[in-house]
């Protein structure tokens, strides 16, 4: 057993940290305030290879696998949850489906520009009536010979307002797969595609979340991703990796919370002693540190398993569940240590507290993760 990053992975970590320190952390508060990630920042990340890190070089990626992706998201998550969310939606769920299920033509046409960051991706699953019960879309697709005619809409789509390519879930109407789910690759320029309402949110405000409307949208038949009627498989496989990256960004935010809290506790004096000399505060720091160690351990073990080609359905749900819940406890303690100052917008803890909450909801709520874990446990033959 070995438990160290490779030389490349260490270099990646150092390089992303440097980028985050110089370019991202200084603008993180502004990204939140202005509810927008600057286009130049996205272009710079694309140029450096951030937007296709996990995919092989032959498809425009950096070939650093899921572990590399997690290392990057951990560092980005330290400074800006909105940016981590943007990348996650683009790469981990917005492009992975095409990588895993796309034909060679689809990969060349869509995955390469996505991985190179020339196009932005998004994952369109959620609908007004399909949230946790995600795989029952009301958006319909009808086979019209050379194209599918799509009608309906999506909500809460990260990057929805500016993405170019959407991994979109639809229900088949008529034909042999009537009522079953399929996945279509949708381009924003298709006639009948419209961006609807952009949501106002409590946290990750820099990540744009919007509604999509499809009115008699024609999608070419060759844009079917995977097999017709087998969309469930695409959805589940894609979310397996999505959950890992989400855990990585949560880990980064947790590490940053501990760093900020420790520095503050060693500085702030109350009752004639530094906060760090009060045992009540020490216990909070100890708990934070313990949970971070747990997060880090399960995340990178699972990322490694994934890169080895192992099935990580249960493990990635455990990572998502544990990391999102632990982060909420950690930012709560961090805010408590900062006291009234933590509640003000002067300190980043306030933003990190708001940003944390969504992690227990998106890409499957905590309750859904428990269902997945329990289902896997109940079917397991090797307990």
């Amino acid at each position: 057993m070995e438990w160290t990053f490779t030389e490349e992975q260490q270099m990646l970590k150092d390089m992303v940290k440097k980028f985050v320190d110089n370019e991202l952390r200084p603008v993180a508060a502004k990204i939140d305030e202005e509810k927008k990630i600057p286009k130049e920042l996205i272009a710079q990340m694309a140029e450096l290879g951030f937007l296709g890190i996990a995919f092989p070089p032959e498809y425009g990626g950096a070939g650093m696998g899921e572990t590399g992706y997690c290392i990057m998201q951990t560092e980005i998550g330290r400074a800006c949850a909105s940016t981590a969310t943007f990348i996650g939606a683009h790469q981990s769920i917005g492009s992975s489906g095409i990588y895993m299920f796309g034909t060679e033509e689809q990969k060349q046409k869509y995955l390469v520009p996505l991985a190179e960051g020339k196009k932005i991706g998004a994952y369109a699953l959620t609908e007004t009536s399909a949230g946790s019960d995600a795989y029952k879309p009301q958006t319909t697709a009808e086979d019209k010979g050379d194209h599918y005619l799509v009608n309906g809409g999506k909500i809460f789509i990260t990057n929805g307002s500016f993405a170019d390519i959407f991994t979109t879930f639809v229900k088949m109407v008529g034909g042999p797969n009537d009522g079953k789910m399929s996945v279509l690759i949708v381009e924003k320029d298709y006639e009948g595609f419209k961006v609807g309402k952009i949501e106002e949110k409590m946290g990750i405000r820099g990540s744009e979340t919007s509604e999509l409307i499809f009115e008699d949208m024609k999608v070419p038949k060759e844009n079917l991703l995977g097999r017709e009627g087998r969309g469930l498989l695409v959805g589940m496989k894609v979310l397996n990796t999505g959950r890992l990256g989400l855990g990585a960004a949560a880990l980064g935010a947790a590490q940053e919370s501990l760093k900020l809290s420790t520095a503050y506790a060693k500085e702030r004096v109350q009752f004639g002693k530094k906060l760090s000399q009060h045992q009540g505060i020490q216990w909070m720091l100890a708990n934070m540190s313990m949970e971070i160690f747990n997060m880090e351990s399960i995340l990178y073990r699972t990322a490694w398993m994934y890169d080895q080609g192992q099935n990580v359905t249960r493990e990635s749900s455990i990572v998502k569940l544990y990391c999102s819940e632990a982060l909420d406890r950690i930012v709560d303690d961090a805010l408590q240590i900062f006291g009234g100052y933590g509640f003000t917008c002067e300190f980043p803890i306030e933003r990190m507290y708001r940003d944390s909450r969504i992690n227990r909801i998106f890409e499957g709520t905590s309750e859904i993760q428990k269902m997945i874990i329990a289902r896997d446990v109940l079917h397991a033959r090797d307990l």
């Binding site: 030389e7 490349e8 390089m15 951030f50 890190i53 950096a62």
Partner: protein, 263 residues
């Protein structure tokens, strides 16, 4: 065009520096090491020059330092440097600028060069001597603290601004030349992710003193480091507090006169 960039492995600017027990170096445990920040300007300038001149131009990094320097050399390779020479020998532990310049001169001569870029100083021991001694050993002109660099179209001379107190001095130097770089010369690039993946495949030629034709470490010159001392501790700080500023000033004046006895 053959471009050489010099690298030094130094402690991270954020690292907490503690003197070791023997008083002859720093405690390296838990300290992260990076490329000397001024050397990064040199790397960037070297890469830009290569991109501009094109053809069969090549950027070679030369680094003298312990085995662990491989890490910073790989970072330079990931930024786009083509290959590297790593001078590594136990006899070169804690070398003086004279010693280092001597071995660098040998290694660089073996490589061949048209232009050499390096940082204006190492951010660790701040001696700022190596480039000047090296220029002397190679018998070439040197321009220190460069903030602007341009190469004449016929590649025969460099036109530079060098930062001096209160302004810049514009100078011209014939090639080959060694240029030490000042902050502001450029914005060093990040190693791109594909660059990181390619770095491992690039060649690092490791050479010890014998490979360079030395029987022992070259002389350390006429100065010698005797001991390293920790930063002197600042004195106790006393805060003067009063309701009115005027009263605080009066109290401060009294303390300066009666306690500190400085006025």
């Amino acid at each position: 065009m053959k471009i050489i960039v010099l690298l030094k492995r130094v402690p991270d600017t954020e690292a907490k520096i503690l003197i070791n027990q023997d008083g002859n170096g720093i405690r390296e445990d838990g300290v992260k090491f990076i490329i000397n920040t001024y050397d990064e300007y040199g790397i960037e300038e070297g890469l830009r020059l290569k991109e501009k001149v094109g053809g069969d131009s090549k950027v070679t990094a030369v680094c003298a330092g312990p085995e662990e320097s491989t890490e910073v050399i790989r970072t330079a390779l990931a930024m786009g440097v083509d290959d590297a020479v790593h001078i590594c020998d136990p006899a070169l532990a804690k070398p003086s600028p004279f010693t280092i310049a001597e071995v660098l001169a040998k290694a660089i001569s073996e490589e061949g060069f048209d232009i050499i870029f390096c940082g204006k100083q190492g951010i660790d021991d701040d001696m700022a001597q190596t480039q000047s001694i090296l220029a002397e050993k190679l018998d070439i002109p040197q321009v220190n603290n460069a903030t602007v660099f341009e190469l004449a179209d016929d590649l025969s001379k460099a036109v530079l601004n060098r930062r001096i107190e209160g302004g810049d001095e514009k100078v011209e130097a014939s090639l080959p030349v060694i240029i030490s770089c000042e902050k502001g010369l450029n914005d060093p690039r990040y190693a791109s992710l594909p660059g990181i993946m390619k770095a491992k495949k690039k060649e690092i030629r490791v050479k010890n003193l014998a490979d360079l034709g030395f029987n022992e470490a070259p002389s350390s010159g006429r100065s010698r480091v005797l001991k390293w001392l920790p930063m002197p501790k600042g004195g106790e700080c006393k805060m003067v507090e009063a309701e009115e500023t005027v009263d605080a000033v009066k109290e401060l004046a009294r303390l300066l006169r009666e306690e500190a006895k400085v006025v």
